[in-house]
Each structure stands twice: as structure tokens, then as C-alpha cells.
Symmetry: C2
């Protein structure tokens, strides 16, 4: 694979991942359609193994390792979902894994990683660099670092969700006009756009982000990478990256239509609506695309068939209870 993955790489990844990941269901709901003013189709990656799409990219990456590298294991840094994806994929291939996680990561994500038998190295976000810790540990172990998004096999692996989505909509004979998908580093959305294009080259794909953390929206509007102001926060822990990645931006600038965003209040409301109408548990980052579909739908998508990627459901029970119980 050259540095930038293409649609064929994503199709290959989808084939390779068959049996390793779930083919997640696509759902829809009349009440949410009415609220959005569009026909929404939900790709439920919160129902994926480990509760998010991240196992797709991690598995695809680990499948590339030569036999002699497997025994030495892998290292990853992540606040949660990538951590769990890598930990589970490593367990599935009987490989040792070390995950570098911030000490304030949601407990449910730390537990998930632990439960899969990975070693955890906690670090302090304010005083330590996770990149440095991970690099040092990778060197010491002669292990392989598994990046969270800016890697062609990670992007292609996440994109397998787009191939599935395309197959599912084709099988149901209900083509989509638009797709809204969360964008953190951008591995999922760029891979998904590549994958879905094999089924419909005219699909319009939009990023979903927290309002104060809209690096993709501003990058797409300006035509060059924009960073978030340092220190901006959001409840969407899963999708807070400083800026688009190099590879994901090179793909995204060509593949993506533009950006939408929702406030933390919109995202909490989307979580409540998913609870009520879909009976699905979404984490804040996993509800960003739904919030955008409901409260910041692009004009062009009004009244159209819109795919909405529900990307994850790993939320601490106490936080969920607080959001749902109001």
C-alpha cells in the first residue's frame, strides 16, 4: 500500500476483516426523521466489538505485522476507544500490548483495556507527553507502535464500515445522498468515504464535531489545516484531536463536502434521543453525528436520505445517568 490508501485498499481491508469484526446493523426511526427533516439511516458502530469502530483499524493494522514482530507486541496511546480496539485485536492474535492512557480517561475505557489483558501505562495529561512515553516503550520492547489514525492500514480498516454501509444500503435498495460522520483524527471518516464511494461516487460526506473543537470544519472551509485553540474542551473525549492528520487531511480535502458541528448541549440531547427512540447507548463523541443531523443538518441534505454514523458507546455509567436522568 502506498502512503495514501485508496478505495481498493479499503475493499481489501473489508474482506480481510470478515470474521474478525461485526457487520453492525443499520437502523432507522420515524420520530428522529421528523426531528431532522430528513430520512436518517444509522450505522451502529456503537454495537461493534469493544463498543466502537476502532477494532476495525487496529485489526487491519495488526494483520500486516510479520511473524517475528508479532511476538514483540504492540504499543498504542489513546484516551479510550483506540486503546480498547488495539487491546482486543492484540488479544485475538495472542500478542502482548501496552496502552498509554491519560489518568483522566473514562473508567469504563480503562476497564475495557484491562479486561482484554493489556498492560496500561497511565500518564498525566498536563505534565507528560504520551508520544514520548509511547516512543520510549516501543523502543525498549522492540514493539510496533499502532497509530490511532494517521496510517494507511488504520484508515483502510476503519473504512471497512463504509464498505458495509454501502453494501447494506444497496441490499435494501435505499441509496444515501449524504453521510454525516464524526471526525477526530479523521481515520474513520476518510476511510468510510473511500469505501462508500465504491457504491456511489456522488455521495456527499460531512464531518461532525463539537462546536468549539471544529478543526475539520474550519480546515475544509479554508482549504488548509486549521488547529483548535489550545485548551478547548468538550464532553466528546473520543474525538478531541488538535488538527486533522497529514494523511487524513490529504484524503479529506478531496473526499469531504464540508463540516457540521454541535454544542455539548446538542450532543447530550442527541444521546437522550438515541436512548429514547433508538434504545442505543451512545457516548458523547459517538452522538456527534446524530447531533449534527438533528440540529445542524446542511441545507443540501434537508429532505434527503442521510447516513449517520453512530461511532461509539463507551460512556461511564455515572456520566450517562447524569445526562439521561435530567
Amino acid at each position: 500500500m502506498s502512503d495514501l490508501p485508496n478505495s481498493q485498499d479499503v475493499l481489501d481491508a473489508a474482506r480481510r476483516l470478515h470474521g474478525h469484526v461485526l457487520r453492525t446493523p443499520v437502523l432507522r426511526n420515524d420520530a428522529l426523521d421528523e426531528l431532522a427533516g430528513a430520512k436518517l439511516w444509522f450505522k451502529c458502530e456503537n454495537l461493534q466489538i469493544t463498543g466502537s469502530f476502532k477494532i476495525r483499524g487496529a485489526t487491519n493494522r495488526l494483520l500486516q505485522l510479520p511473524a517475528d514482530a508479532r511476538g514483540k507486541g504492540v504499543v498504542a496511546f489513546s484516551s479510550g476507544n483506540h486503546a480498547q480496539g488495539v487491546a482486543r485485536a492484540a488479544r485475538n492474535f495472542q500478542m502482548p500490548a501496552l496502552i498509554v492512557m491519560p489518568s483522566d480517561a473514562p473508567a469504563i475505557k480503562v476497564e475495557g483495556v484491562c479486561g482484554d489483558g493489556a498492560e496500561i501505562r497511565l500518564y498525566d495529561r498536563t505534565s507528560e507527553s504520551r508520544e514520548e512515553i509511547a516512543a520510549e516503550e516501543t523502543r525498549k520492547r522492540d514493539a510496533t507502535l499502532v497509530p490511532s489514525f494517521d496510517d494507511p492500514y488504520i484508515i483502510a480498516g476503519q473504512g471497512s464500515a463504509g464498505v458495509e454501509f454501502g453494501q447494506q444500503m444497496r441490499d435494501a435498495n435505499t441509496p444515501l445522498d449524504h453521510i454525516i460522520c464524526c471526525a477526530g483524527g479523521g481515520g474513520l471518516i476518510t476511510g468510510l468515504a473511500l469505501g462508500y464511494r465504491e457504491f456511489d461516487p456522488d455521495i456527499k460526506v460531512w464531518t461532525a464535531e463539537p462546536e468549539e473543537h471544529d478543526d475539520w470544519r474550519r480546515s475544509l472551509a479554508s482549504g488548509e489545516i486549521r488547529e483548535n485553540a489550545p485548551g478547548t474542551r468538550s464532553i466528546c473525549d473520543a474525538i478531541l484531536t488538535p488538527a486533522p492528520g497529514d494523511l487524513t487531511w490529504a484524503l479529506g480535502r478531496e473526499l469531504l463536502e464540508g463540516g457540521c458541528a454541535g454544542s455539548d448541549a446538542d450532543i447530550e440531547e442527541a444521546m437522550r434521543l438515541a436512548f429514547r427512540h433508538l434504545k442505543l447507548v451512545l457516548e458523547p463523541g459517538g452522538a456527534a453525528a446524530l447531533a449534527c443531523a438533528l440540529f445542524d443538518l446542511p441545507e443540501a441534505a434537508k429532505g434527503k436520505a442521510v447516513g449517520v454514523v453512530l461511532s461509539g458507546g463507551n460512556v461511564d455509567p455515572a456520566q450517562y445517568a447524569r445526562i439521561i436522568g435530567v
Copy 2:
């Protein structure tokens, strides 16, 4: 259809309902398998339209009405899920509907019925008879009463979930040995057993109930209908009926293997585990089968492939927050 539906009636219902109800997904999860000591396959009827399987039977029943009866509408009494199923099915067929609901029904269920445009008549559980109110309203309107379980078309309609489950497990080439399914009136479990038998005549089907409300378990053990002691309570509002119905018992005594039960504490724990591992919202009654699979699995099912019917997800947010947030 004669009074007692047979497997062919259930197959017919499944064909008839195609396009009217969702083909709900089947999921599985390693962590829950480990806890149960069996391989569990979850049939997710909480993801069904209206958040429970009840739309299946209601739609199948309404499809039987002659043209002149349709305009006069339907009447039903129910604490919630049947109410929503009938209200939505009636709306889909542009029929008026009156639903008789207890004044202490979960607000989310009252709202669901309201949202579908049905008229609601609240009654006081302690001083009024819902049967009398419904009979009186049915007479006044010259409408059709839609019973909640003891009706051959209702049973056959609910059973369409069993036909789907059978097809899905056959397509995945993973036959089940056992199925655990909640039993209130018994419409779902008896219809489902009839439907699944078309795919495997040796399937063993077990009832799941709250511990203090185990009329089916005791009836199956003794060979004759046993009632619950008056005044027994449980958080499982959806599956509290005084005793098996006449038709459902006539079917169930032949089709069902025996009964399992879980305490309210077990059922709350099952709701928490579904939140954590499946990212699914279950109501108490909808989690009864999962609680039984995890905490009261029949000896014969240990280590086997066990289907678990997750029957509904209509739970008030405040109650859910209380249960999840501990």
C-alpha cells in the same frame, strides 16, 4: 385460523409482516458469554419499532380486520408496550385507537402512545377494572378489541420474531440449542417457539420471569395453570400478568421446556451489563431473559448455544439513570 395457531400460521404472519416491522439484529458478546458459561445470541427486539416486539402481534391482528371494521377503530388495554404497538399499527393503517392505560404506567410509554395519535383513557389500578372500561368503550364505538396475548393472530404475529431468529441463525450457520424468552401472558414465547421449531424441532425454549412472579415456571413444573399470589410486585412492569392465558397455556405446556427466574436485583444487574457490554437500553421486563441466562441458566444449557430474547427497551430515563448510575 383455528383457535390455536400452529407453525404455519406463524410463518404466514412473518410473511405478512414483511415491510411492516423491522428485522431486528442478532448480536453477541464475549464478556457476557464468559459470565453465563454459554454462547449467547441476543435477538434484539428492544430495537424493534416502538421499542418492543408488540408491534408484530398488533400489526398481524389489525391486518385481519375487514374494511368496514377498520374505520371504527380499535381499543386495547395495556400498561405500555402493547399499547404502543397497537397505537403505532393503528396509525400505520389510519385507524382510530383508544388505549386504556393505568395511571401509574411509565411516562415514556404514555408519551409513545400519545405521540402516535391514539386517544388515552387512564384508569386507577386499585379501584377500576381495565377489562370493563375497555369492553364498554369497545361497545360504544362499535370498535374491535385487540387483546394483548390470548389471541391466535397476536400469538402468530409475535412469533414472527422466532421465524426471523431461526432464519438468522440458519444463515449464520450457528444453530441454537436453547432459547430463553420472557413470559408475561405468553404470546411472544409461545409464538416464537412455534416459529423457531420450523428451523429446529428440537429447540428447547425456557420462560424467564421475575422470581416472585413465576406463574409460568410453577405452571410448567406442575402441569397446570398456577396463578401469582395477589399483590406480588416486580420492577418488570411489562411482564406482570396474573397467570398464563388459556391459548398460550395450551400451547406452552406442549412447547416449553421449563422456567427460569431472576430477582429484581438480578434484572437490574442484567440492565447494567447490557448497557456496558451491548450498548443496548433494556427495560426491566426486556432484561428478564438476560438475567436468567446469566444468573439462572438451566443446567442443560451450560456450555451450549443459547438464544436470549431482549424483548423491550421502554424504560423511563429517571428509572434507568437510577439503575445504571449506582
